[in-house]
Symmetry: C2
Subunit: 226 residues, 2 copies
Amino acid sequence: MFSSEAADAGTKSDRTRARLRAIALRSFRERGYDATTVRQIAAEAGVSVGVTNYHFASKNRLVQELYVDVQERHRAAAVPALDGVDDLIDRLTVIYRTGLDELTPYHPHAGEFVAAAMSPKSDVNPLSAESAPARDITEALFARAVSGAKHSLPADIADRLPAVLFLGHLLLALYWAYDRSPGQERTSRLLERGLGLLRLALPLVRLPLVRRPLREMLDLIGEVRS
Amino acid sequence: MFSSEAADAGTKSDRTRARLRAIALRSFRERGYDATTVRQIAAEAGVSVGVTNYHFASKNRLVQELYVDVQERHRAAAVPALDGVDDLIDRLTVIYRTGLDELTPYHPHAGEFVAAAMSPKSDVNPLSAESAPARDITEALFARAVSGAKHSLPADIADRLPAVLFLGHLLLALYWAYDRSPGQERTSRLLERGLGLLRLALPLVRLPLVRRPLREMLDLIGEVRS
């Protein structure tokens, strides 16, 4: 029957797509960005480059799958860890810490991803339109960290935080990519000290003298897109 | 006479080197990083690729010449503008503002330079050993801004500022590379708001509760190298 054949074809196509995706994600982790090619992924999957391109139009399209995969794992690790934590800085520690943990397997090749992603014209730039699906997951995590916290921040500041905290996450990942200390312990210390100082600074945010220029600065930072 | 011939050859070689450098710097400014090649520079100078490589071993060696040129112009603009300015934040405004002004002609191609420079393994990374000559000029400018200012910062914090202010300069340049507003006016506003908030925060630095974690954080940031 035609509809059954179509369903079977769909299923086979779905399986091929899932296999290509899994091979690509493992290759990015083990070989890095530079050494991963569509040709090699196709060969490992036992399909033609044409079939691979049908499912994923380019290598960078597969990087988007990687981004979403990493951010879904990030969410899966962070959301239960937020349970019962109501201090804002403690909640931010959970998000940043679980985010770094998910990146750990990629550290040996982090520089390649930085090089590929940093151009404002790159479609794997985390601030590009193409990267919105992965970015939305992480920004939603920061929104959840802020909205579920006991804090006394004015609403106009709290509303602007998730976008800026997400940029903080990207800068932290950039620092981490350069970090050659064992287990990237310098990044861990930077995060701890940075959030400690943020804790001291938070009460000042309610002063009108601070609040107004801060609000404008948060807007200028949070709206950066590539 | 042999010594005179050698001197003449030296002079001709110096002239060739200066011409190659000038052609490369103009090409980086007008065509950008990607479209500038050693072959094209050699052709414009009327010399062989071999002669070009004798003077500058690679295109990235010429980028180092560009970095030093931009930072020497930065210093030439900043030093006289610091005269008679003794407020720390006003002095930092001078350094950051003149730094952005020197970058302006390169904005149309800024993304290409970001892409080439951001990898931790790139020899044109501003934090690489190869980039030390240009970096030293800018760090010395920030050291001058701090040491010549009337401020009440503890010495252990003031000593650590130039390296971190230099990283701030790189982050500001990164923001500027992404800034598509007319005349990059968003970058100007970000700088103004950021330094305004720094002015409000400076008195807090003397509190032991702030000073200790801040000192550690300045060390972690200031020591980043690629």
